[in-house]
């Protein structure tokens, strides 16, 4: 199968859906000729014109709100938010308007929009351009949240998101735009709420999201060399969450580590760990461990930034502890 970058995969997904459905349009800062700072959208304005690839002033709440109204009245906007950190700017329009409109109207109004943005640290961009804020939106009922872990997922999930009749937020890892993965040439969609078992194992389950899937796979390689068999699972969407697949694996291996790049406290890792604890308790041979980004603003200095995110070595080390039966955090 051919290999393309994550950036190309997103571009293809958008182009295919815009060809298929003329109500789809892209709106955001420097999305047209500039094709975004990451060049993900290069070439789209040439094919679809400035009516459908719409450059906006630097006014995130404004174009987000505009997209909500456009979505309510018959179009399918794809809102481009240059950095995930800017999600704080659009919170009212996203969480008070888009997320609640369908419910508040008793099902009469829909908001079929996609907010595509990014997450991920270690790009030396410091505290306001490096955050992974997907837990914030996953907390709000009415929003779906997808976290592609490779070019394949980036394309399949984006196409599904555009066709979904609800507001969907997609976070791409900005460090993975140039990572290549096999992506079929023929059309495909990845349904929401279906986790992907990246690798089967029987000793410990590593649940990873977005770029942390790669971290888990590398940890699994390290562990395999030591005779520990790790299962790696990518939920792909955290809302909806494929709880069954995660629980099934937890029951099988009886040991689980959840790895996510959002801050560890009050985040995705805690939510998933808690569901496993509630629903697979009698199958657990060790506490479910959370591994998230350190609870500090992302520092600029490379010497500091690198130690704030989970690493394959760190995941492997925790897996070893679970296997050895060592007391973890016991008083």
């Amino acid at each position: 199968m051919r290999e393309i970058t994550l950036s190309q995969a997103v571009n293809e997904a958008l182009a295919e859906e815009m060809r298929r459905d003329e109500t789809v349009f892209i709106i955001g800062e420097d999305v047209a000729e500039a094709g975004t700072p990451f060049k993900v959208l290069s070439g789209l304005v040439e094919e679809f014109g400035t009516d459908r690839v719409v450059d906006t002033p630097i006014a995130e709440p404004g174009f987000m709100g505009l997209a909500v109204g456009a979505a309510m009245t018959g179009t399918r906007p794809v809102v481009d938010l240059m950095f995930g950190d800017f999600i704080f700017l659009v919170m009212d329009q996203l969480c008070n308007q888009a997320a609640k409109t369908h419910y508040m109207s008793g099902g009469k109004l829909n908001v079929p929009l996609v907010l595509r943005t990014n997450l991920g640290a270690t790009r030396r961009s410091a505290a306001q351009h490096s955050q992974s804020l997907h837990a914030l939106v996953a907390h709000i009922p009415g929003l779906k949240v997808a976290l592609p872990s490779s070019a394949y997922e980036a394309k399949g999930l984006m196409k599904t998101a555009i066709r979904d009749n609800n507001p969907v937020v997609i976070f791409e890892d900005k460090l993975m735009y140039n990572d290549k993965a096999p992506v079929p040439e023929e059309e495909f969609l990845i349904p929401f709420g279906e986790a992907n078992i990246k690798r089967e194992g029987h000793d410990v389950t590593l649940i990873g999201t977005s770029s942390m899937v790669q971290v888990c796979e590398k940890a699994a390689d390290i562990l395999a060399a030591e005779g520990i068999s790790a299962e790696v699972i990518d939920p792909r969407t955290i809302v909806p969450l494929d709880e069954e697949t995660l629980l099934k694996s937890a029951r099988k291996t009886s040991r689980v580590i959840v790895v996510d790049e959002g801050h560890q406290s009050y985040g995705i890792t805690g939510e998933i760990a808690s569901r496993i604890n509630e629903k697979a308790f009698y199958h657990l041979d060790a506490p479910v461990l959370r591994m998230g980004a350190m609870d500090v603003p992302v520092p600029f200095s490379p010497a500091l930034e690198d130690i704030t995110v989970p690493t394959p070595e760190g995941v492997a080390e925790n897996a070893r502890k679970l296997m050895s039966g060592e007391m973890i955090h016991a008083a």
Binding site: Q93, N96, M104, P141
Partner: protein, 333 residues
Amino acid sequence: MSPAKTKTNTEDYLRMYRQMVRIRTFEDNANQLYLSAKMPGLTHMYSGEEAVAVGICEALRVTDKITSTHRGHGHCVAKGADFKEMFCELLGKEEGYCRGKGGSMHIADQSNGNLGANAIVGGSMGIATGSAFTARLLGRDDVTVCFFGDGATAQGLWYEVMNMAALWKLPVIYACENNGYSEYTKTDEIAAGSIVARAEAFGIESHQVDGQDVLAVNALTQKLVERARKGEGPFFIELMTYRYHGHHVGDINREYYRSKEEEQDWKVNRDPIIRFRSWLVEQGIASEEEIEAMNAEIKEDAAAAVEYALHAKYPGANEVDMHVFTDVEHALA
């Protein structure tokens, strides 16, 4: 009163009068429901501002869109909503416009182009602009009117979307109902400079009109709507009006921000319904008897709708996780 056009507009005039009285009657009933503790929550009366909603909405087609505010009952009635479903919604009943999930501050009536009231001040400015964007992108000639109050002019969102609407010539009309008060504070104390000048700064054609004169409001809106349909938008209108009640029902002790004399003056001398009624009689469009009969009929309609809503069913508990997502019947199943 603005000069009459022709007698052929008789039906239009009577409908405008009727709609204003329907709004006033709706609000009187809602006020009573609230005061008698039969209505849960929080509600904001539109009484006094009827000529704004009616003058504007009578210039719109069913397919034209509006976005509304927390003080939204008037817009909803003016855009064609029924009493029964509205009262049901106010009381949280299953037959309400939003199946009881929205309430007073969130009534949406998409069949008449009402994209919904919004409980965030200024919250619908983006939505209205986006609705106009849809019309342009899909080549429809719909116009969208964005209702908001003077208080909302302080929100940054407005300046962001006005900028885009002006850049892209979107068919949207920003209608600022200036009732003189931003919640419990005089507008003078929260708005520096001129409100009209705010829109003019973006190169948007702007007007100020007497919001208690339904014919003036209607005549201006008709012209602007026609031009907006042709791509000459956006426009801004500041409508000078007054709210008879407090910020919300229960805001009774208001003398620290406005006097009873001021309220009386607006109610007696500038009431849009009284003014339009005497004009209708003067012009021979309707007799006092005909008007009284119309008022009585509306009162009866409202009473029947209230009675119906009071006895209507609440939604079943199984509805609580419905409509969270469009394609999932029960989000928590």
